[in-house]
Symmetry: D2
Subunit: 122 residues, 4 copies
Amino acid sequence: MATLGAELAHVAAGRVAITVPIGPHLSQQDGFLHAGVVVAALDSACGYAALTLMPADAEVLTVELKVNLLAPANGDRLLAEGDVLRAGRTLTVCRGDAYAEQGSERVHVATMLATMMPRRAG
Amino acid sequence: MATLGAELAHVAAGRVAITVPIGPHLSQQDGFLHAGVVVAALDSACGYAALTLMPADAEVLTVELKVNLLAPANGDRLLAEGDVLRAGRTLTVCRGDAYAEQGSERVHVATMLATMMPRRAG
Amino acid sequence: MATLGAELAHVAAGRVAITVPIGPHLSQQDGFLHAGVVVAALDSACGYAALTLMPADAEVLTVELKVNLLAPANGDRLLAEGDVLRAGRTLTVCRGDAYAEQGSERVHVATMLATMMPRRAG
Amino acid sequence: MATLGAELAHVAAGRVAITVPIGPHLSQQDGFLHAGVVVAALDSACGYAALTLMPADAEVLTVELKVNLLAPANGDRLLAEGDVLRAGRTLTVCRGDAYAEQGSERVHVATMLATMMPRRAG
């Protein structure tokens, strides 16, 4: 995510938001952000949100994810929000929503459900 | 859904809620509602929510659905809510959330993402 | 599944097949099997397939499932096959495929990915 | 995918395979390929597989995808296979499977279901 210019915009218990600037290097010829970047940003937001509720020495692993792409992402930046729906001992279920922002306008571009799991750092 | 005793609890443009009584006939030996009933209730709530934004003569078809089961469903009744996230000409994307209710307590038992499609009545 | 007239057609380690007769009681006005029945049959086939690789006293719990409905299901019977793709200590991932059969013809009507988890009886 | 060093390994009607070399630039500290790379490779293999059955001037759009990560991906290269399960006029449903290969050994690292849609080039 660092190579994408991603930044943590918000961190709270069970909730993380990430922003990614939408520039030509991540976009297709038509100016839209690659779907892969949207998916990666949502996966990261969900993973970090899960991590906020895990033991301090845990790393987080994506078990499975599902994403619906709702609209093409163009504009100034992508906002990816991850929320924990259920934090279990073994499995954490998260919802992610991504928005393309341009000035004060915001378009809902994708939604995700993901299951995360802690992995003890080795 | 009729055989499950399901009732429409709320209908608005892009939003439908269904309730299903939790009784012994739909439950497993341990008193929990069958996961299949939860999935069917969410699928119905999402389908009806999509239908509220489709032409009057359309029927609705589930293209795909994904559900995460968050907690066992027991109590007095199941509440399944469906919301349209995106209503396109061809595809409608919905989110569904199901809650088990007992008195004033409510537990989030499942969440769904589903893609719906209109089908002209034949 | 018993009330659906479902029968186990095949059981092997990591692989289970279930058949469901397609009759008027499970079908819509147009003669097609309800999507909910297809999903329930696939969920059962996947759950039983996972169970074949779990400890003898375990029960199986569906963590999440995703299904794509490929074609309407009509004909004589539904065949739902479940296969374990990965059997872990905690999580078992299964693939399910459902076919509508009429005489010697077979149509692929749905495909599923599901995550299962053991639950100790009792 | 070009920046990942991805190559088309196989193209046939309804079936495409892509390989991605597993090197330090795409891997985490622990030597495993980033999950995002696995997802992107599967999405590409599925998209190209769908494209082989679409009109010549069509581009392909991912409507939704779901992936289960089965094992960490390390070794020499990643092989991502995409297969069309159903090619409709509007929607094409694909299955993708990814394998990490090292010498003659092969590990199944991820499986995907995805829905694709044609978009006329504009």
